[in-house]
Symmetry: C2
Subunit: 170 residues, 2 copies
DNA sequence: AGCATATGTCAGTGTTGTTGACATTCCAAG
DNA sequence: CTTGGAATGTCAACAACACTGACATATGCT
Protein backbone atom coordinates (compact mmCIF):
# COMPACT_ATOMS: atom_id res chain seq x y z
CA UNK A 1 0.00 0.00 0.00
CA UNK A 2 2.71 2.47 1.03
CA UNK A 3 4.77 2.03 -2.08
CA UNK A 4 5.22 5.17 -4.25
CA UNK A 5 7.75 6.62 -1.82
CA UNK A 6 9.47 9.92 -2.42
CA UNK A 7 12.92 8.85 -3.58
CA UNK A 8 15.05 11.33 -1.74
CA UNK A 9 14.70 14.36 0.48
CA UNK A 10 14.21 18.00 -0.58
CA UNK A 11 13.42 17.06 -4.18
CA UNK A 12 9.88 18.36 -4.06
CA UNK A 13 10.49 21.80 -5.44
CA UNK A 14 10.06 21.22 -9.15
CA UNK A 15 10.16 17.49 -9.65
CA UNK A 16 7.03 17.02 -7.53
CA UNK A 17 7.15 13.42 -6.47
CA UNK A 18 3.68 12.74 -5.21
CA UNK A 19 3.17 9.72 -3.04
CA UNK A 20 -0.09 7.86 -3.10
CA UNK A 21 -0.44 8.86 0.52
CA UNK A 22 -0.25 12.57 -0.30
CA UNK A 23 -2.77 12.18 -3.06
CA UNK A 24 -5.11 10.21 -0.86
CA UNK A 25 -5.02 12.91 1.74
CA UNK A 26 -6.01 15.40 -0.92
CA UNK A 27 -8.86 13.15 -1.98
CA UNK A 28 -10.13 12.84 1.56
CA UNK A 29 -9.75 16.56 2.15
CA UNK A 30 -11.97 17.19 -0.87
CA UNK A 31 -14.56 14.77 0.44
CA UNK A 32 -14.75 16.21 3.94
CA UNK A 33 -14.52 19.81 2.80
CA UNK A 34 -17.30 19.45 0.28
CA UNK A 35 -19.54 18.19 3.04
CA UNK A 36 -18.87 21.36 5.00
CA UNK A 37 -19.26 23.43 1.88
CA UNK A 38 -22.83 22.27 1.29
CA UNK A 39 -23.86 21.86 4.93
CA UNK A 40 -25.17 25.35 5.62
CA UNK A 41 -27.36 25.79 2.54
CA UNK A 42 -28.59 22.21 2.93
CA UNK A 43 -29.78 23.00 6.42
CA UNK A 44 -31.73 26.01 5.20
CA UNK A 45 -33.22 24.14 2.28
CA UNK A 46 -34.33 21.11 4.25
CA UNK A 47 -36.78 23.31 6.13
CA UNK A 48 -38.40 24.24 2.84
CA UNK A 49 -39.50 21.79 0.17
CA UNK A 50 -36.25 22.31 -1.70
CA UNK A 51 -32.94 20.57 -2.09
CA UNK A 52 -29.46 21.13 -3.39
CA UNK A 53 -30.61 21.08 -6.98
CA UNK A 54 -32.86 24.07 -6.34
CA UNK A 55 -29.93 25.88 -4.79
CA UNK A 56 -27.78 25.31 -7.83
CA UNK A 57 -30.47 26.48 -10.23
CA UNK A 58 -31.17 29.63 -8.23
CA UNK A 59 -27.48 30.35 -7.90
CA UNK A 60 -26.74 30.24 -11.60
CA UNK A 61 -29.91 32.04 -12.67
CA UNK A 62 -28.90 34.83 -10.33
CA UNK A 63 -25.42 34.72 -11.75
CA UNK A 64 -26.55 34.93 -15.37
CA UNK A 65 -30.04 36.45 -15.50
CA UNK A 66 -31.91 35.70 -18.71
CA UNK A 67 -29.98 32.50 -19.31
CA UNK A 68 -31.78 29.83 -21.30
CA UNK A 69 -32.71 26.39 -20.06
CA UNK A 70 -30.19 24.84 -22.40
CA UNK A 71 -27.43 27.07 -21.13
CA UNK A 72 -28.23 26.17 -17.57
CA UNK A 73 -28.27 22.52 -18.57
CA UNK A 74 -24.69 22.67 -19.75
CA UNK A 75 -23.50 24.42 -16.62
CA UNK A 76 -25.25 22.09 -14.22
CA UNK A 77 -24.44 18.93 -16.12
CA UNK A 78 -27.77 17.19 -15.65
CA UNK A 79 -30.47 16.11 -18.07
CA UNK A 80 -33.06 18.61 -19.14
CA UNK A 81 -35.77 16.48 -17.55
CA UNK A 82 -34.06 16.62 -14.20
CA UNK A 83 -33.56 20.36 -14.39
CA UNK A 84 -37.10 20.85 -15.58
CA UNK A 85 -38.61 19.32 -12.47
CA UNK A 86 -36.67 21.72 -10.32
CA UNK A 87 -37.47 24.73 -12.51
CA UNK A 88 -41.15 23.87 -12.56
CA UNK A 89 -41.46 23.96 -8.79
CA UNK A 90 -39.44 27.16 -8.61
CA UNK A 91 -41.69 28.78 -11.22
CA UNK A 92 -44.87 27.51 -9.57
CA UNK A 93 -43.68 28.90 -6.26
CA UNK A 94 -42.96 32.24 -7.85
CA UNK A 95 -39.21 32.26 -7.31
CA UNK A 96 -38.27 32.07 -10.97
CA UNK A 97 -39.85 33.67 -14.01
CA UNK A 98 -39.64 32.04 -17.42
CA UNK A 99 -39.98 34.31 -20.46
CA UNK A 100 -40.38 33.05 -24.00
CA UNK A 101 -37.49 34.17 -26.16
CA UNK A 102 -38.08 37.08 -28.54
CA UNK A 103 -35.67 36.03 -31.25
CA UNK A 104 -36.24 32.30 -30.85
CA UNK A 105 -39.56 31.37 -29.33
CA UNK A 106 -38.35 27.90 -28.47
CA UNK A 107 -36.06 29.29 -25.84
CA UNK A 108 -37.09 30.21 -22.32
CA UNK A 109 -35.15 32.95 -20.56
CA UNK A 110 -34.94 32.57 -16.82
CA UNK A 111 -35.01 35.30 -14.19
CA UNK A 112 -35.29 35.41 -10.43
CA UNK A 113 -38.32 37.16 -8.98
CA UNK A 114 -37.95 39.30 -5.90
CA UNK A 115 -38.76 36.27 -3.78
CA UNK A 116 -36.22 34.24 -5.70
CA UNK A 117 -33.56 36.84 -5.04
CA UNK A 118 -34.39 36.67 -1.35
CA UNK A 119 -33.78 32.93 -1.24
CA UNK A 120 -30.61 33.22 -3.26
CA UNK A 121 -29.31 35.83 -0.84
CA UNK A 122 -30.12 33.71 2.17
CA UNK A 123 -28.38 30.67 0.74
CA UNK A 124 -25.31 32.35 -0.61
CA UNK A 125 -24.92 34.41 2.54
CA UNK A 126 -24.67 31.21 4.55
CA UNK A 127 -22.21 29.70 2.13
CA UNK A 128 -20.11 32.84 1.95
CA UNK A 129 -19.78 33.04 5.70
CA UNK A 130 -18.05 29.69 5.76
CA UNK A 131 -15.98 30.47 2.71
CA UNK A 132 -14.89 33.77 4.17
CA UNK A 133 -13.83 32.15 7.42
CA UNK A 134 -11.88 29.47 5.59
CA UNK A 135 -10.17 32.07 3.41
CA UNK A 136 -9.31 34.22 6.42
CA UNK A 137 -7.93 31.29 8.32
CA UNK A 138 -5.84 30.01 5.46
CA UNK A 139 -4.51 33.33 4.21
CA UNK A 140 -4.26 34.94 0.76
CA UNK A 141 -1.47 32.77 -0.60
CA UNK A 142 -3.32 29.63 0.36
CA UNK A 143 -6.44 30.95 -1.35
CA UNK A 144 -4.57 31.50 -4.58
CA UNK A 145 -3.25 27.96 -4.44
CA UNK A 146 -6.66 26.59 -3.58
CA UNK A 147 -8.13 28.21 -6.66
CA UNK A 148 -5.31 27.02 -8.88
CA UNK A 149 -5.67 23.39 -7.82
CA UNK A 150 -9.46 23.44 -8.15
CA UNK A 151 -9.24 24.89 -11.61
CA UNK A 152 -6.78 22.21 -12.65
CA UNK A 153 -9.12 19.56 -11.31
CA UNK A 154 -12.09 20.54 -13.49
CA UNK A 155 -13.05 18.91 -16.74
CA UNK A 156 -12.21 21.09 -19.70
CA UNK A 157 -15.79 22.11 -20.42
CA UNK A 158 -16.39 23.00 -16.80
CA UNK A 159 -13.22 25.05 -16.76
CA UNK A 160 -14.55 26.96 -19.73
CA UNK A 161 -17.92 27.54 -18.12
CA UNK A 162 -16.17 28.61 -14.94
CA UNK A 163 -13.97 31.02 -16.85
CA UNK A 164 -16.89 32.62 -18.61
CA UNK A 165 -18.74 33.13 -15.36
CA UNK A 166 -15.63 34.49 -13.72
CA UNK A 167 -15.09 37.05 -16.46
CA UNK A 168 -18.74 38.08 -16.56
CA UNK A 169 -18.66 38.89 -12.86
CA UNK A 170 -16.11 41.67 -13.15
CA UNK B 1 -25.62 42.90 -5.30
CA UNK B 2 -22.04 44.10 -5.85
CA UNK B 3 -21.74 45.74 -2.48
CA UNK B 4 -18.96 44.33 -0.26
CA UNK B 5 -16.30 46.21 -2.20
CA UNK B 6 -12.67 46.23 -1.19
CA UNK B 7 -12.29 49.65 0.45
CA UNK B 8 -8.92 50.62 -0.92
CA UNK B 9 -6.12 49.19 -3.01
CA UNK B 10 -3.20 47.00 -1.91
CA UNK B 11 -4.76 46.24 1.48
CA UNK B 12 -5.11 42.53 0.85
CA UNK B 13 -1.98 41.30 2.54
CA UNK B 14 -3.15 40.80 6.10
CA UNK B 15 -6.48 42.57 6.38
CA UNK B 16 -7.96 40.27 3.76
CA UNK B 17 -10.94 42.17 2.43
CA UNK B 18 -12.89 39.58 0.58
CA UNK B 19 -15.47 40.78 -1.91
CA UNK B 20 -18.62 38.80 -2.50
CA UNK B 21 -17.38 38.31 -6.02
CA UNK B 22 -14.16 36.67 -4.87
CA UNK B 23 -16.07 34.40 -2.54
CA UNK B 24 -18.58 33.48 -5.21
CA UNK B 25 -15.78 32.49 -7.54
CA UNK B 26 -14.47 30.22 -4.83
CA UNK B 27 -17.91 28.71 -4.38
CA UNK B 28 -18.27 28.06 -8.07
CA UNK B 29 -14.76 26.64 -8.28
CA UNK B 30 -15.67 24.15 -5.56
CA UNK B 31 -18.80 23.15 -7.42
CA UNK B 32 -17.13 22.59 -10.77
CA UNK B 33 -14.04 20.96 -9.31
CA UNK B 34 -16.02 18.49 -7.25
CA UNK B 35 -17.77 17.39 -10.40
CA UNK B 36 -14.42 16.62 -11.96
CA UNK B 37 -13.25 15.00 -8.77
CA UNK B 38 -16.03 12.41 -8.80
CA UNK B 39 -16.36 12.02 -12.56
CA UNK B 40 -13.82 9.25 -13.15
CA UNK B 41 -14.89 6.85 -10.38
CA UNK B 42 -18.53 7.53 -11.23
CA UNK B 43 -17.93 6.43 -14.78
CA UNK B 44 -16.36 3.18 -13.62
CA UNK B 45 -19.09 2.52 -11.10
CA UNK B 46 -21.99 3.17 -13.44
CA UNK B 47 -20.91 0.16 -15.49
CA UNK B 48 -21.31 -1.99 -12.41
CA UNK B 49 -24.35 -2.04 -10.13
CA UNK B 50 -22.64 0.38 -7.76
CA UNK B 51 -22.72 4.08 -7.05
CA UNK B 52 -20.81 6.74 -5.24
CA UNK B 53 -21.94 5.43 -1.87
CA UNK B 54 -20.21 2.12 -2.53
CA UNK B 55 -17.06 3.94 -3.52
CA UNK B 56 -16.98 5.85 -0.25
CA UNK B 57 -17.52 2.72 1.82
CA UNK B 58 -14.81 0.80 0.00
CA UNK B 59 -12.42 3.72 0.25
CA UNK B 60 -12.67 4.10 4.00
CA UNK B 61 -12.68 0.38 4.73
CA UNK B 62 -9.46 0.16 2.78
CA UNK B 63 -8.12 3.14 4.62
CA UNK B 64 -8.93 1.77 8.07
CA UNK B 65 -9.19 -2.00 7.82
CA UNK B 66 -11.11 -3.57 10.67
CA UNK B 67 -13.12 -0.44 11.28
CA UNK B 68 -16.52 -0.95 12.84
CA UNK B 69 -19.85 -0.09 11.30
CA UNK B 70 -20.39 2.66 13.81
CA UNK B 71 -17.02 4.18 13.05
CA UNK B 72 -17.74 4.18 9.34
CA UNK B 73 -21.10 5.74 10.04
CA UNK B 74 -19.48 8.72 11.73
CA UNK B 75 -16.96 9.22 8.97
CA UNK B 76 -19.47 9.00 6.16
CA UNK B 77 -22.13 11.03 7.89
CA UNK B 78 -25.09 8.96 6.76
CA UNK B 79 -27.69 6.94 8.60
CA UNK B 80 -27.06 3.33 9.44
CA UNK B 81 -29.96 2.29 7.23
CA UNK B 82 -28.37 4.01 4.30
CA UNK B 83 -24.94 2.56 4.98
CA UNK B 84 -26.36 -0.87 5.64
CA UNK B 85 -27.96 -1.05 2.22
CA UNK B 86 -24.61 -0.41 0.62
CA UNK B 87 -22.68 -2.69 2.96
CA UNK B 88 -25.10 -5.53 2.44
CA UNK B 89 -24.63 -5.56 -1.31
CA UNK B 90 -20.86 -5.32 -0.94
CA UNK B 91 -20.81 -8.26 1.45
CA UNK B 92 -23.18 -10.30 -0.70
CA UNK B 93 -20.97 -9.67 -3.71
CA UNK B 94 -17.91 -10.74 -1.79
CA UNK B 95 -16.07 -7.41 -1.81
CA UNK B 96 -16.29 -6.82 1.92
CA UNK B 97 -15.96 -9.18 4.83
CA UNK B 98 -17.66 -8.57 8.16
CA UNK B 99 -16.11 -10.19 11.23
CA UNK B 100 -17.68 -10.30 14.66
CA UNK B 101 -15.55 -8.43 17.18
CA UNK B 102 -13.39 -10.44 19.56
CA UNK B 103 -13.44 -8.04 22.47
CA UNK B 104 -16.98 -6.79 21.89
CA UNK B 105 -19.08 -9.27 19.99
CA UNK B 106 -21.69 -6.66 19.15
CA UNK B 107 -19.28 -4.94 16.82
CA UNK B 108 -18.63 -5.95 13.23
CA UNK B 109 -15.18 -5.29 11.87
CA UNK B 110 -15.03 -4.62 8.17
CA UNK B 111 -12.33 -5.72 5.75
CA UNK B 112 -11.89 -5.72 2.00
CA UNK B 113 -11.57 -9.09 0.32
CA UNK B 114 -9.13 -9.52 -2.51
CA UNK B 115 -11.87 -8.63 -4.93
CA UNK B 116 -12.72 -5.60 -2.83
CA UNK B 117 -9.13 -4.44 -2.94
CA UNK B 118 -9.17 -4.79 -6.70
CA UNK B 119 -12.14 -2.48 -7.02
CA UNK B 120 -10.68 0.00 -4.56
CA UNK B 121 -7.47 0.10 -6.56
CA UNK B 122 -9.29 0.65 -9.80
CA UNK B 123 -11.34 3.51 -8.38
CA UNK B 124 -8.62 5.26 -6.48
CA UNK B 125 -6.20 4.90 -9.37
CA UNK B 126 -8.60 6.82 -11.56
CA UNK B 127 -9.10 9.48 -8.94
CA UNK B 128 -5.40 9.78 -8.19
CA UNK B 129 -4.54 10.29 -11.84
CA UNK B 130 -6.65 13.41 -11.92
CA UNK B 131 -5.42 14.58 -8.55
CA UNK B 132 -1.82 14.08 -9.57
CA UNK B 133 -2.29 16.05 -12.75
CA UNK B 134 -3.97 18.89 -10.90
CA UNK B 135 -1.20 18.95 -8.29
CA UNK B 136 1.50 18.93 -10.96
CA UNK B 137 -0.16 21.69 -12.89
CA UNK B 138 -0.71 23.89 -9.85
CA UNK B 139 2.64 23.34 -8.16
CA UNK B 140 3.67 22.50 -4.59
CA UNK B 141 2.87 25.85 -3.02
CA UNK B 142 -0.60 25.81 -4.49
CA UNK B 143 -1.13 22.32 -3.14
CA UNK B 144 -0.24 23.40 0.37
CA UNK B 145 -2.70 26.29 0.11
CA UNK B 146 -5.35 24.04 -1.34
CA UNK B 147 -5.07 21.71 1.62
CA UNK B 148 -5.12 24.57 4.11
CA UNK B 149 -8.30 26.08 2.71
CA UNK B 150 -10.06 22.73 2.50
CA UNK B 151 -9.18 21.93 6.07
CA UNK B 152 -10.53 25.29 7.23
CA UNK B 153 -13.74 24.62 5.35
CA UNK B 154 -14.56 21.38 7.14
CA UNK B 155 -16.90 21.03 10.09
CA UNK B 156 -15.01 20.46 13.30
CA UNK B 157 -15.90 16.79 13.60
CA UNK B 158 -14.88 16.15 10.03
CA UNK B 159 -11.61 17.95 10.60
CA UNK B 160 -10.97 15.62 13.50
CA UNK B 161 -11.82 12.54 11.48
CA UNK B 162 -9.61 13.81 8.68
CA UNK B 163 -6.74 14.42 11.09
CA UNK B 164 -6.96 10.93 12.53
CA UNK B 165 -6.91 9.37 9.09
CA UNK B 166 -4.04 11.57 8.03
CA UNK B 167 -1.94 10.58 11.02
CA UNK B 168 -2.76 6.89 10.68
CA UNK B 169 -1.50 6.91 7.13
CA UNK B 170 2.08 7.82 8.02
C1' DA C 1 -32.23 -8.37 36.22
C1' DG C 2 -32.37 -4.22 33.77
C1' DC C 3 -30.72 -0.64 30.98
C1' DA C 4 -27.66 0.97 27.38
C1' DT C 5 -25.09 0.01 23.13
C1' DA C 6 -24.12 -1.90 18.44
C1' DT C 7 -25.98 -3.74 14.64
C1' DG C 8 -29.38 -5.18 11.31
C1' DT C 9 -33.95 -4.95 9.12
C1' DC C 10 -38.59 -3.49 7.35
C1' DA C 11 -41.59 0.04 5.66
C1' DG C 12 -42.41 4.50 3.93
C1' DT C 13 -40.99 8.99 1.92
C1' DG C 14 -38.39 12.72 -0.59
C1' DT C 15 -34.87 14.55 -3.70
C1' DT C 16 -32.43 13.99 -7.74
C1' DG C 17 -30.80 11.65 -11.25
C1' DT C 18 -32.00 8.64 -15.47
C1' DT C 19 -34.57 7.15 -20.14
C1' DG C 20 -38.43 7.31 -23.32
C1' DA C 21 -42.09 9.62 -25.62
C1' DC C 22 -43.97 13.74 -27.32
C1' DA C 23 -45.25 18.78 -28.44
C1' DT C 24 -43.66 23.07 -30.21
C1' DT C 25 -40.81 25.97 -32.82
C1' DC C 26 -37.26 27.17 -36.09
C1' DC C 27 -34.75 26.68 -40.30
C1' DA C 28 -33.31 25.12 -44.58
C1' DA C 29 -33.77 22.09 -48.72
C1' DG C 30 -36.60 20.99 -52.21
C1' DC D 1 -44.59 27.18 -49.61
C1' DT D 2 -44.21 22.81 -47.76
C1' DT D 3 -41.87 19.36 -45.46
C1' DG D 4 -38.47 17.15 -42.69
C1' DG D 5 -34.88 17.52 -39.40
C1' DA D 6 -32.88 19.87 -35.42
C1' DA D 7 -33.44 22.38 -31.24
C1' DT D 8 -36.02 23.22 -27.18
C1' DG D 9 -38.90 22.21 -23.58
C1' DT D 10 -42.52 19.16 -21.05
C1' DC D 11 -44.73 14.91 -19.13
C1' DA D 12 -44.38 10.15 -17.19
C1' DA D 13 -42.12 6.34 -15.18
C1' DC D 14 -38.30 4.46 -12.87
C1' DA D 15 -33.74 3.86 -10.11
C1' DA D 16 -30.31 5.33 -6.66
C1' DC D 17 -29.64 6.96 -2.30
C1' DA D 18 -30.57 9.70 1.27
C1' DC D 19 -34.00 10.24 5.37
C1' DT D 20 -37.32 8.96 9.50
C1' DG D 21 -39.53 5.74 12.49
C1' DA D 22 -40.17 1.36 14.52
C1' DC D 23 -38.50 -2.82 15.98
C1' DA D 24 -35.50 -7.21 16.73
C1' DT D 25 -31.27 -9.28 18.35
C1' DA D 26 -27.15 -9.81 20.73
C1' DT D 27 -24.09 -8.11 23.87
C1' DG D 28 -21.98 -5.31 27.59
C1' DC D 29 -22.17 -3.09 31.96
C1' DT D 30 -23.91 -2.04 36.56
Amino acid sequence: MADGRAPSAQSGENLLFLTDEQLRQGIEAMFFAYRGFTADPDRILSDMAYGRAHHRAVHFINRAPGTTVNNLLNILGVTKQSLNRVLRTLIEDGLVESKVGKADKRERHLFLTEEGHALEQKLSDAQRVRMRMAYREAGPDAVAGFRRVLEAMMDREMRNAYGRLKDSGT
